[in-house]
């Protein structure tokens, strides 16, 4: 039986494939990109831990051949914080959805960012609640439709990157399911950042978001990503009006600040002498 490319064989539980995602779902592309980044970094597989919440996106860890944890809705980062602090030698990567991470999980996101704990979070952002059938999410653009926004969404959408930045993340970037090579690099850099990293990875959900909003088939949605993403390095070249309908990708923030588990280790050092 053919169980896929070397990358797939190395990093996936191939007996679980094909995955449950719909035809053309962007999540599959993103999941592969994450493993390619892991492979490129030559991480010790035994020391990689992938944590997710609940949602289509959050099904990813079940397919990935690492220490994998599928938690409760919204709580991935809280579980991951426990894991990372308890065993800092683990590379902890969180795969989450826009709903999981920024709706019910928003508090854990801002606090993980604030603590600058060394966790890399990749948001599989399809601008909708896919798993539950197409309700609008905190990243659904204004005026678009969801099953709970039958007259058009009146909520303003989060800019996940600005949110993470405002909360204190030290690495912040955005990629897409179309711009895979760039995304792989962003994930690599996120993992390499000693601190909290967030990569807003724009996905596509042809089944719900696409249908509800007449965005066409998966290929149309991929073309949308291709045509409307502007690299942050090129933003200055564009006129403001043109940018209005576009979205910006690339690296937004890459700074160095004390990391949480490092700081904790300093406490351990400090109190060693108190040990009876």
């Amino acid at each position: 039986m053919n169980t896929g490319s070397q990358l797939i064989k190395n990093n996936f539980r191939v007996e679980k494939l094909p995955h449950i995602w719909c035809p053309g779902c962007g999540h599959g592309i993103l999941m592969r990109a994450v493993t390619e980044a892991i492979e490129n970094l030559n991480l010790d597989k035994k020391k990689v831990c992938i944590v997710s919440g609940i949602g289509c996106s959050s099904r990813a860890p079940g397919y990935m051949d690492f220490n994998t944890l599928h938690t409760t809705h919204g709580r991935a980062l809280a579980f991951a914080t426990g894991i990372k602090l308890a065993k800092p030698e683990l590379k902890v990567i969180v795969i989450t959805g826009d709903g999981d991470c920024t709706a019910i999980g928003g508090n854990h996101l801002i606090h993980a960012a604030r603590r600058n704990i060394d966790i890399t979070t990749i948001v599989f952002n399809n601008n909708i609640y896919g798993m539950t059938g197409g309700q609008y999410s905190p990243t659904t653009p204004k005026n678009e439709f969801g099953t709970t926004a039958p007259f058009g969404n009146i909520d303003k959408a989060f800019d996940v990157c600005k949110l993470a930045d405002g909360a204190g993340a030290t690495y912040v970037a955005r990629g897409t399911a179309y711009h895979v090579k760039q995304l792989i690099k962003l994930v690599e850099k996120g993992i390499n950042n000693k601190g909290f990293s967030l990569i807003d990875a724009i996905s596509i959900c042809p089944t719900y978001y696409g249908r509800k909003n007449k965005k066409g088939l998966a290929v149309d949605m991929m073309n949308y990503l291709k045509d409307n993403a502007v690299d942050v390095k090129a933003v200055k070249k564009f006129q403001k009006e043109i940018l209005e309908d576009k979205f910006v990708i690339g690296e937004f923030k890459n700074t160095t600040e004390p990391e949480y588990t490092d700081e904790y280790n300093k406490i351990l050092e400090k109190v060693k002498h108190l040990h009876k």
């Binding site: 896929g4 070397q6 797939i8 592969r32 290929v219 073309n223």
Partner: protein
């Protein structure tokens, strides 16, 4: 060992393909086609082994393999 692209072979796993057409759309050389909801290599000759299909296939159903004897 670095394998030059041209050593690679284009492989598909029909069982995994869900016929989304993404690889077809973004193949620069129009090598691919979806027939009956499954991927089909129409024109292998034209393939430049760029790997774009592999990179964007959501289902890992198409890829380039270095060692053709595997």
């Amino acid at each position: 060992m670095v394998i030059s692209n041209t050593d690679k072979e284009l492989k598909i796993i029909e069982k995994w393909c869900k016929g989304c057409g993404i690889c077809v759309e973004f193949c620069p050389k129009d090598v691919l086609e979806v027939l009956d909801e499954t991927i089909f290599i129409r024109d292998l000759e034209n393939c430049i082994k760029c790997g774009f299909c592999e990179l964007r296939c959501p289902d890992y159903a198409i890829y380039l393999e270095g060692d053709s004897n595997e």
